[in-house]
Amino acid sequence: MSKERKMTITLPREELMSSGHLACQGCGATLAMRYALKALGQKTILCIPACCWSVIDGPFPHSSLDVPIYHCAFETAASSASGVRAGLDMVGDKETTVMAWAGDGGTFDIGIQALSGAAERNEDFIYACYDNEAYMNTGIQRSSATPIGAWTTTTPVKHYKKERKKDIIGIMAAHDIPYIATASIAYPEDMVKKFKKAKDIHGTRFIHIYAPCPTGWKSRPDDTVKLARLAVQTGYFPLYEVENGEKWTLNLKIKERKPITEYLKLQGRFRHLKQDEIDLIQAEVDNNYQKILKKCGL
């Protein structure tokens, strides 16, 4: 018996999400929630605006999560969370963690005013954005988080997205909030560590989670984790933290970045791209990665 090799499980064992949720196969956003709640524990209240997660949780009167959820309006994740925090404080609950949990559309686009307002006031909650790079709930329309080159139903192949993805971390860092991190469902230990760290900090904490969506990206459900890993390994989505808007730390140094085509070719949404377009995207990725290295003092 003693010779049996045992894998050590580094993630908390507590499960606050049950399997009876309504997500598609291979949904990255679902893994993201599972890991985030493992880190935060049961004393957490979620504010979830319109997004896939307002469906994934399950229809009234059911819920697949063992924490209270306030399903709020699309653009109000940050303003609702501000209110919940204030309300809890006034009724004497200073312990519970409040987390706004929104998609990229609810964060980069329609909710950015409320988010910027809350960050400027340094409201005391965690804002987690799971980024699947489009409005998936409504059927794969482009958001300002959709990457350059991608197909969506509102950026058809002939008019694929020509604009760059909005630099949400740059925007949030400009608010000088105490904690910002990127996280990926392919790196659960790193993600859990970041949520735990965020939990113990006061003020506005922003975590940007990379969450592949097989339905919207036209990728294989069993490639979800692989894609998330490739996004990090290509330098497309580096894992890093920004503290107080000034201390940038790269969490995972990639010695040899993989070419972006390895990442692109697994997704139908990039299938139309020609070599010269892929070269341009590679140059974009290189440029962005260098910028982040520089900010991290590397």
Binding site: Q42, K43, T44, I45, C47, S54, V55, D57, G58, P59, F60, P61, H62, S63, L65, D66, V67, P68, I69, Y70, H71, C72, A73, E75, T76, A78, S79, S80, A81, S82, G83, V84, R85, A86, G87, L88, D89, M90, V91, D93, T96, Q113, A114, S116, G117, E120, R121, E123
Partner: protein, 384 residues
Amino acid sequence: MKKVIMGNHALSYGAMLSRAQVIAAYPITPQTQVVELLSEMCANGTLDAKFIKVESEHSAMAACLGASMAGARTFTATSAQGLALMHEMLHWASGGRMPVVMGDINRAMAPGWSIWTDQIDSLSQRDTGWIQFYCSSNQEVLDTVIQAYKVSEKLMIPSMVILDAFALSHTYEVVEIPEQEKVDAYLPPFNPPYRLTPADPHAFGGLTSPDHYMELRYKLQKDMEKVPALVEETGREYEKMFGRYLGQVDDYLCDGAELVFVTSGTAGLTARVVVDELRAQGVKAGNLRIKLFRPFPFEQVRSILSRVPKVAVLDRNISYGHHGVFYQEVKSAMYGLPSEPAIFGFIAGLGGRDITRETYKEIADYALKHDRPEEEIVWIGVKK
């Protein structure tokens, strides 16, 4: 204690005495003094509340709702453009059964920019499931805020306490400020049956299938229908404790009248002066001021107006392509009654144009001269 205060400060005192715990608001003329005084009160400790200085009215209401869901008593105030920006969240408040109390200063909608009073901002929100009180004095504003919390929290339906821009918001009047202890005895702390707490986790407002949605709305309507009786009950209780009755409507000499002006807000006070003048000339006039507009006080309006041959409804608003809103509502309340009066609809005072004694005299002239209204809408004082 008596104080000379503006209507806006009557709202602030009402919120303070009600011990609002979370306030989230955004400034707009003519509401600003409401929140200025409240932030002062929060800063100097007169009021133990969190004031969230949000970046918009949409966020103001969203934050109030979050706080309400967490079990806190919440207050906000706005006007016109701000109320319109909140629209989505107004449905959220009533649909989610969150008893927020909000002050709205009735102001005309842009364009062109107008900061002056009319009622279209709040009347455009009549179908959002909020209780609406239209006030006509600063005392009534303060008292109604306190009563509104009592009614709202009992039924878990939000309330709007409404006052005219400038005519009330910026007008100073003597107001009796009730003692805190007595208000505490009248209004117990907010203790909702459900709230956001990890001790009893629920998901609120999630995806609701056609199997359930309709029942939730049916229940909201059924509870709305309980409001008039509850306003009556809490208004009498208020009278017992504070000496001022707070009702659904205000009847001035309607009994036995041949012509009744139906009004709302401050315009009603001018009507009374004209009622007295007409009576001195031998015309038996009266005034019915509608204070509770949502839910509509069917019973009281019917019982008072079915004894009157002619009713002149004054609207400081218009529903484009139809009539003035109060005119629509009074007609629909009276429709088909055996003693349905002749009901006339008048529009006056849009965008803050003064409603004067002359306005009512013109209205009285028209109504007395005609058996039935000859026009869908009679405009008073418009340069055609």
